[in-house]
Amino acid sequence: MRGIDVFSRPLEYLTPLGEQVGEIIREWVEKEVIPYRRGFDEDYLEHRLIHPPFKKLLGEYGIQRILFPEDLGGWGLGHSEYLCVAAFRMFEEIARADSGMAVAFGVVFWPLVLICCEPHVNRRLCEEFAPMFMTNEPVFSCLAMTEPQGGSDIENVEVLKGSTIRTVAVRDGDEWVINGHKLWPTNTGGVADLMGVVCTTNPGSRNPEDIAIIFVPADAPGVTQGPAYEKAGMAADKNGDIWFENVRVPLWYRACGPGDDAKYYGEIVSMGNMGSIAFAVGVMLNIYEKLQEYVNRKTYRGMPLKENDAVAGVLADFATTIEAVRIIGYQCARMCDRQDLYGPRWSPEVVARARAHRYFAADRALEAIGKVMNLMECFGPDRDWDVEKHWRDIKMVQLWLGGKQLSQMEVARWFFECETL
């Protein structure tokens, strides 16, 4: 049977490092994740099955260090022109086993992008937080944007300019005092060790300088994480409430500074969208493997199921979806890497393109996976075939990052120069 490597990738973009780590991750998922993943749904609160493989990947293999500069013990990928393509490959490989794990993994690096990547390396914060990550134990970050009244409005920076953020950071001498309530960040529910918190320094203000992304160690007095929510899928990603009650951190824990926090926030959005496509591709690659097994094993009209022309039409559509979405995903990653060619990844243009790529990918993936499940009839919803799990998990890729409709608005806003959306 043909394996998952048959699908196109732009070979000229690939990097030796990304490929090597990709192979290591492939071996890791096959040994440490795939044999256990059918128990993940019931493990959503405890992560008894989910934590050990993370310990190996992040801690023991040391992948949690990759963004930090080499002289601080990292791998220096923050400076690399191949960061996103390499990340895409890693995300795909993990998502092939479990896209919830891929999200949890990706978000370890998400807030760190703000301090580790050129041209806005914050050396002092790198020095401050790198030691936390130089350990064999897994260390998790989170990026807390969403609040009870809504996540999309906070992400809708271009139009609402932070005016709806209710988590407030007030300057008191050489410290920030943070008060507020966040919901849903990946790697919460007690998991996060370090938090990037999107705050306002002046509630209701539409001045981008008042948007502050501030790092908060999870053990700072006044930080409380609630238990993980129960969700339709993505059990390997814990999401919960975080309350900040008079939490004090030094002023220099602010990621990039007034104006720049709002500006580089776009980079977070572009890269989040890029990663989301990789999750969709990884999931589809695994479904391709499962589907191959199914249509070879099952029979219809005295032949293998795949030899029926109508069934083959569905199979072809699925393969075509993987081909197209994967090419788009790698192009998105390349766009985020080659800022010299495509413009800065925080620019509204790159943000809009990345959003377009992601929502196209998520829509196509869901449609295609839905058809595969239906073709598998009563085995489609059967946990033991693994396809249904991917279907439940990947739905979230369409819903997060401000939801599909905010993506549509940002795409229309850029391509058609709309002003009020």
Binding site: Q149, S152, L160, T299, Y300, M373, L375, E377, G380, L399
Partner: protein
């Protein structure tokens, strides 16, 4: 106005008893299931099973078709199709899985006890199980599926899961790794469409859940339909009396399926109505694009909410159209005729595909809340997808449509 009445259906064709039944079911499921959803989740033992008893036994859905002298309500004319639609919509709104189980039960009653084709002997034999008030009859079907042996006997390309041979006045049944349509772990009665050794015509044979030689595998996990505790079965030399064979012909088999598809269509509409109620609450209260902008008033999300309502409304009309066809055989033909069967199959697939889209959209509009179990929306998304898969491949069902509309012969 009752918000479910916003979606038109041919009320004028329903009898007062249908409307009364729907109204009392609406109250009952609201109190017993919908209002307790958050607390009891999809807990089968705690929430769903006691309500299955209530619906089938106390309300009496499982007595509906059987002759009065056998303990039934003898509501067994074709117009009962409207009753099935009106009842299962309400049950499906509360829990898709419960309605899915009830759809099995009602389809079997329709196959056995419909006035025009009443099988007196079979009724006398099986009605007591349904009417003696002892407990719910959990009915499950064993239908042909994609096989794993190219030479195994097949029905329209799919493999029979059970082989029957007649022996000393009864039947002996064999099958391994059988996947029933629901409730393999706890069904009390299975109806199997079996290949018959040495004969062309298959046989639809009832197998009691406690028949010696029937063994059940462990309950397996699946996407949704918590009320259906499914498990694979083995039948090893299971003997049942000759009378357990209810029919041998295509016509009767399709009649059963047409009624089954009506039940599933109504169940699906119920799930859609539940999603509507959840989305409505969201749309009335959520704010996007800054202070004061109510969700339903946003041009984009408002349009999508409109599209979802359109999908629900069209699905409800289709469900009652199908009920109308089954209710009027003199105009449309027998429920097992090619035209009615094909229509039932088209409608069930159309409504399930529409439901999939509408639920996807509703999830999109509710973002994380849609994905969180707490909001109770995602369970309908999972349930209806599961139902769609159990109904079978849409792609291959299209061959049935082509056979009818274009006269294709070999598909």
């Amino acid at each position: 106005m009752n918000d479910l009445e916003l979606f038109p259906y041919p009320k004028n064709r329903l009898q007062k008893t249908d409307l009364d039944l729907a109204a009392s079911l609406q109250d009952l499921v609201q109190k017993e299931i919908v209002d307790k959803r958050l607390e009891l989740k999809e807990d089968y033992q705690g929430l769903l099973r006691p309500n299955l008893d209530k619906l089938l036994v106390e309300v009496g859905l499982q007595r509906m078709f059987w002759p009065e002298d056998l303990g039934g309500e003898e509501h067994n004319g074709p117009e009962a199709a409207y009753t099935v639609a009106a009842a299962l919509e309400q049950v499906g709104r509360a829990d898709t899985g419960l309605a899915y189980l009830a759809a099995h039960n009602l389809a079997l009653q329709a196959a056995l006890a419909m006035r025009e084709n009443l099988d007196r002997e079979a009724c006398a034999r099986f009605a007591p199980l349904f009417c003696d008030g002892r407990g719910p009859m959990i009915v499950s079907f064993i239908l042909p599926v994609f096989g794993e042996d190219e030479k195994a006997p097949a029905w329209r390309g799919k493999s029979f899961q059970v082989k029957a041979r007649s022996a000393s006045g009864g039947w002996v049944l064999e099958g391994k790794g059988i996947r029933p349509t629901c409730s393999g772990a706890d069904a009390t009665l299975f109806g199997a469409w079996c290949a018959v050794e040495g004969e062309e015509a298959p046989a639809f044979i009832l197998v009691p859940g406690d028949a010696p030689g029937l063994s059940r595998g462990p309950e397996f996990k699946k996407t949704g339909l918590a009320a259906s505790r499914n498990a694979d079965l083995d039948l090893s030399g299971v003997e049942v009396p000759a009378e357990n064979c209810l029919f041998r012909g295509d016509l009767e088999y399709r009649r059963l399926l047409s009624w089954f598809y009506l039940g599933i269509t109504a169940t699906t509409v119920g799930g859609l109505l539940a999603a509507y109620q959840i989305l409505k609450e969201w749309g009335d209260n959520r704010v996007i694009k800054g202070t004061g902008n109510i969700f339903k008033e946003n041009p984009l999300t408002g349009a999508l909410m409109g599209e979802i309502a359109q999908d629900i409304s069209m699905s409800r009309l289709l469900a009652y159209d199908l009920a109308g066809m089954l209710a009027d055989p003199s105009s449309f033909g027998d429920a097992g005729s090619d035209m009615v069967y094909t229509s039932a199959l088209m409608i069930v697939h159309q409504v399930l595909a529409t439901a999939e889209r509408a639920l996807h959209r509703t999830m999109e509009l509710m973002a994380s809340a849609g994905y969180a179990k707490e909001w109770q929306l995602e369970r309908y998304w999972r349930d209806l997808k599961t139902v769609q898969c159990y109904v079978g491949s849409h792609e291959l069902a299209k061959h049935d449509f082509s056979r009818w509309f274009y006269g294709a012969r070999t598909l």
